[in-house]
């Protein structure tokens, strides 16, 4: 008697669904505003610049693809991305003397294990992901300083140069980004675990009561995130040839920005890897235009912040019922 849910007429529902979503409108407006600005910017419409845009989106994009799965699963965000990528980079560089394959595998394993353990705590013991990853970030960052003794870790041997190759003029990382985005999208749409991720993220209590493997699904998402972080770390290492403790810089927040601009719901249950890819590219394009027009770094960061804010207000805060 109390909870009678009155259903809106079916026609109204269909009309609502036929209208383009707010994100689509926001993006259309953005393109209309951006296009003339971009086209009139000197050197924007050059092949070299397109490459630069893709290259600058690659590393943040790879991390963001992994973060998308974690956010869809309802675990909000990880605050330990930069630190994890840094540790992975150090492991990679320090073990290069055993060959590129061994070093890469060890690096990937480090990223997956360190991150999956956090997923374990979130999935099975219902740890608060934000608090947990802030703590994990300190622990991992501390580990990095301890491991490196506070000095830069340089490559124990060569062999990493192949990762800096640029087939068809694009960094290898760009191809890896595209492959990971398609792989993540496939996992989300076609696998049981991926589909359950959306359910767990939308209503964890309901997923639990239905007997869905909430813990296992969460760990899968975090393990994939760990893999993406590790890939980012390996590319960072080979690009910089040495690793300091703040190698990954603002990776944590940049990745979150890309996921949010892509329209993935911060509360979980909605989102897609391909949209995150779009978000990463959009941020990259805007930064590029500002750079070409000679704005300072501060302005670039400011605009990035405003963009994330606008998307969050438009898409995420429209009161979930």
């Amino acid at each position: 008697m109390m909870s009678l849910l009155t259903a809106p007429p079916a026609a109204a529902v269909r009309a609502r669904r036929a209208r383009p979503g707010r994100l689509a409108v926001a993006l259309a407006v953005l393109v209309v505003v951006l296009l003339p600005v971009a086209v009139t910017t000197e050197r924007f419409l050059t092949l070299g610049n397109a490459r630069a845009i893709l290259a600058s989106a690659a590393l943040v994009g790879i991390t963001a693809i992994g973060a998308t799965l974690v956010m869809i699963a309802g675990s909000a965000v990880s605050m330990a991305a930069s630190q994890t990528a840094t540790v992975v980079a150090m492991v990679f560089l320090a073990t290069l003397d055993r060959g590129l394959t061994v070093a890469t595998l060890l690096a990937l394993l480090t990223g997956v294990v360190v991150t999956a353990v956090q997923g374990l705590a979130v999935g099975y013991w219902e740890a608060n992901p934000i608090v947990l990853t802030i703590a994990a970030g300190f622990a991992i960052g501390g580990g990095a300083i301890w491991f490196s003794g506070g000095t830069p870790v340089s490559a124990a041997a060569g062999g990493y140069e192949i990762l800096n190759a640029t087939p068809l003029g694009l960094p290898l990382a760009v191809y890896v980004l595209l492959v990971l985005a398609v792989l993540a999208e496939w996992i989300l749409r076609r696998t049981t675990a991926g589909r359950q991720l959306y359910l767990v993220g939308e209503n964890r209590a309901a997923a639990r009561a239905a007997g869905l493997p909430v813990g296992r699904v969460t760990v899968v998402a975090w393990a994939f995130f760990g893999l993406c972080l590790a890939v980012t770390g390996v590319f960072l290492a080979s690009f910089n040839t040495s690793a300091t403790t703040n190698l990954a810089g603002t990776l944590t927040l940049d990745a979150i920005a890309a996921v949010l601009v892509g329209g993935t719901a911060i509360a979980g249950g909605k989102g897609s890897a391909l949209r995150t890819l779009g978000g990463a590219l959009l941020i990259s394009v805007i930064s590029d235009v500002l750079l070409l027009r000679g704005y300072e770094t501060g302005v670039q960061i400011l605009v990035k912040g405003l963009l994330v804010l606008a998307v969050v207000v438009l898409v995420h805060l429209r009161g979930r019922r």
């Binding site: 008697m1 009678l4 259903a7 079916a10 939308e202 209590a205 309901a206 639990r208 009561a209 007997g211």
Partner: protein, 499 residues
Amino acid sequence: MSGPLVVVDALARSFAGVPAVREVSFTVGAGEIHALCGHNGAGKSTVVRMLSGQLAPDAGRIVLDGEAADLRSRQVAQRLGVALVDQELSVVPALTVLENMTLGDIDAPLVTRRRAAVRRCRELLDEMGLDRLRPGQLVATLSMGERQLVEIAKALSQRARVVILDEPTATLSEAESRRVFAAVRRVAARGCAVIFVSHRLPEVLELCDTVTVLRDGRRVVTAPAADLTVDRLIVHMLGETPHRLETSRRPDPDLTHALRIEHLRVPGRLADFTLTARAGRIYALAGQLGSGASDVLRALAGLHARATGSVQLRDRAVAFRSPVGAARAGIAFVSNDRKGEGLFLDKPVAGNLVATRLDRLGRGPLVAAGRERRTARSLAELAGLPPDRLADPVLTLSGGNQQKVFVGRSLGRPDVHVLLLDEPTRGVDIGGRAAIHRLLRDAAEAGLVVVFASTELEELLELGDVILTMRDGRVVDTYPGGADGAVLMRDMTEGKDAA
């Protein structure tokens, strides 16, 4: 005494065109304890919500102390001296008794004068018989009964003239209930009008001066408690006894298909529960809030981590201490909280129908899209859902159709052997209710063990092949289907021991 303190005059209220309260009138004098009785859906809660300012009436008026009162919000009601002590406690465990007393008090001075506040708190606690409590004590350290008493003291501290108690004793032990009664009598003795809502009829007759019975939103009778007995009250509440949905099938004689529950216990909620539930039969657990009926189902579904006992299904022990274990053994659970713990409201109907069987819709870890679509369509047909709504979010469906999705999700699965439902038709209209009853009967006929808990007598009588009445965490008695409604009601409200 100059006229009644509270006059309820021809109050009416509908939800989505369905009347919940129709022209209900009664009066309560100062110092009077007035009971509102009626079983679920009779309109008690709606009346309480209108009296406490949570819901505006469609028609009729409420007169307080001779003046027509416009109770626009709970704050306004509070300012006019109407206090509500809810069945869900609103005391904050992390705060002290004193802090809770002053919480939300609109008359509280900006700067609290602590010593005066402590003195006043002390007086009120003494008045409630809580002389053992200290104002500085954390509410978290109190028992449920003591919290209930603090809640009543809080209502008094806010100078209430009318105190409404909605099921205050539903989760309390006998001894704790006694203390609440003593407090309620003291409140009345101060000249307040008390409105007392309870399912427990003997306590209603013992405590209250006057009783008003509601049925189907109408007032059936108002009479002095002294002129009533439990039996007469039940007759007023029930009206006609409904007829049940007959089964043509005999129970499955093969005990290996049965769900065998032995000495199931949940600390603090379920004392002891043993039942052999056979395939093809519907078992009804009849019990009010706090009776343990709901806890039997939740424990079997793996949602009470501290449950103990033994549960066997198909000759295998059920790992019922985790929801994953229960689901793997073939137990499907339909919670009474459809929104919070049931459906994925933003997801389409189709996605919800297959949500719990994704791992069975393809090869290995992949979901086969074609098979998923076909499964969703056939389930929609089975559950009687409009096929053109499969792509719409579940949120946009009516309560009845939402419930069909929730139940349909567990049907047609060879790996599900037991269907547990807690309040299977809560928030569902009459048409949807009949359809869901039909679904459950069909599920039993198809060879499932069906166990449901309900507080609604009609539902228990319509569906149950075996009815177990429950009270205070124990089974009171077991009846075959078609039992006498009055007997069930008596078991549920007063147990066996009372006359």
